[in-house]
């Protein structure tokens, strides 16, 4: 088997289309994960056990089952229950929910690290719950969590090939169909690996920068 540059050039446009979907799914999935995680973290802090306990159970359940199974459930089982989603939407929801349960733990640790005196000062200043969260707690809790949150961004990016299992035409899926059609695996699969490696390496450099920038606050 020899490396065929002409074949590479021929398949590159298709792979780039796939890469765009991979990046899109990562970004949208991550935005969802960031929001879902914050919501889980705040609800789990609720003093009302009727709210915090079920949320804790749901989060543990999602984290305790494989992403691939969840993707299948969202894409192939939900239509039986009357909810049909496009592959990309199903994939983004799957990634967002699954990684939301991980980012929730990052948020939880960050929020717990804000001194108790800050909550008390907010109360003594007569701030309501919304003002306390947005003006006092989150502005202090978020910066130190940024490196850990970015870490999950990279982890999630590398899991996007799972979306090919629910027919999302992301990079891996495109590469596989090219390979199956041409009976040549070496170029498409190598290019997929190279693409993930390059983006991951760039992300790691970015992550180191974030760690220096936000890693600790005085």
């Amino acid at each position: 088997m020899e490396w065929d540059w002409a074949f590479v050039i021929q398949i590159l446009p298709t792979l780039i289309e796939g890469a765009k979907i991979t990046i899109l799914a990562t970004v949208l999935g991550y935005i969802l994960a960031a929001i879902v995680g914050l919501a889980i973290a705040i609800v789990r802090r609720s003093k009302n056990k009727l709210i915090s306990r079920p949320m804790g159970f749901v989060a543990e359940f999602i984290r305790g089952t494989p992403l691939l199974v969840q993707l299948y459930f969202i894409f192939y089982v939900l239509p039986d229950l009357g909810l049909t989603l496009s592959p990309l939407v199903a994939g983004v929801i799957g990634l967002g929910l699954h990684y939301g349960t991980y980012t929730a733990e990052v948020y939880r640790a960050g929020i717990d690290n804000v001194a108790r005196g800050q909550w008390e000062a907010a109360k003594a200043c007569n701030l309501n719950a919304w003002q306390t969260w947005t003006q006092v707690i989150l502005p202090q809790a978020l910066p130190p969590m940024i490196p850990a949150l970015a870490n999950y961004f990279i982890a999630m990016f590398k899991e996007t090939p799972l979306l090919s299992a629910i027919t999302v035409l992301e990079l891996m899926n495109q590469a596989r169909s090219i390979a199956n059609y041409n009976y040549r695996y070496i170029e498409p699969i190598t290019l997929v690996g190279a693409f993930f490696l390059v983006i991951s390496l760039i992300s790691v450099v970015g992550l180191r920068w974030l760690e220096r920038r936000y890693g600790r606050i005085d």
């Binding site: 800050q118 008390e120 000062a121 109360k123 003594a124 200043c125 007569n126 202090q140």
Partner: protein, 265 residues
Amino acid sequence: MPPTNTAPIIEINGINKSFGAFKVLNDLSFSVAPREKLALIGPSGSGKTTILRILMTLEGIDSGEILVDGDSLYQMKRNGKLQPADDAHLHKMREKIGMVFQLFNLFPHKCVLDNVTLAPMLTKGVSRKDADHHAMELLDMVGLADKAKSMPSQLSGGQKQRVAIARALALKPKIMLFDEVTSALDPELVEEVLNVLWKLCRETDMTMLLVTHEMGFAHDFADRVLFFDRGRIVEDGKPDEIFRHPKQERTQAFLKKIIAAGHRV
């Protein structure tokens, strides 16, 4: 001097409070007259800080009743029936009360000026311009107008505590609670904070409750001193009575210990 024959601004009737098995406050009752300056002294764990925290609604009570400015703090009337206070009621009650903490608890991500203006702008809808103006007056009063744009991390402990006092005053409370506000300070920084308290004591008619180990200052500052031990008031009287002629054995023992530790009385 506190005027006599006026309704108390704070009335505490038979409150109890436990943390687990530890009874912090034991059937405690006392009242405070408007404009009165009250010093709460006693050994640690005697419940004096807990009183302030309960008045600021940072801790609840197990039983008993507290009236602030005529209204029940932890209960409210709805359809003629008393019910546990909801957030709106607590919000309304907290408007009357300000608190300064032992560890300052400034908002570290906001500059000095924003620490002072945050609450008036958010809770009272004061405009940025008016809030800034009032905050600068308060910072001037505590001697920190030139630090308005500094971050809390750039200030000394004494400066932080003076900002914290300005922050509490910005909401114009009727009652100010000072919880060991000099205990975390280096000795040379204590005086600048006490000077501010002294100024407030003379120049405002706020009711002030001061938990402190600075016995000399408590003596000069207070109209009345309460000596706490094990969740009860052991002695209640004028500063001269308590500090010069304590009647109770436990008060005498406590003051002796404090003097031995080098505090002036």
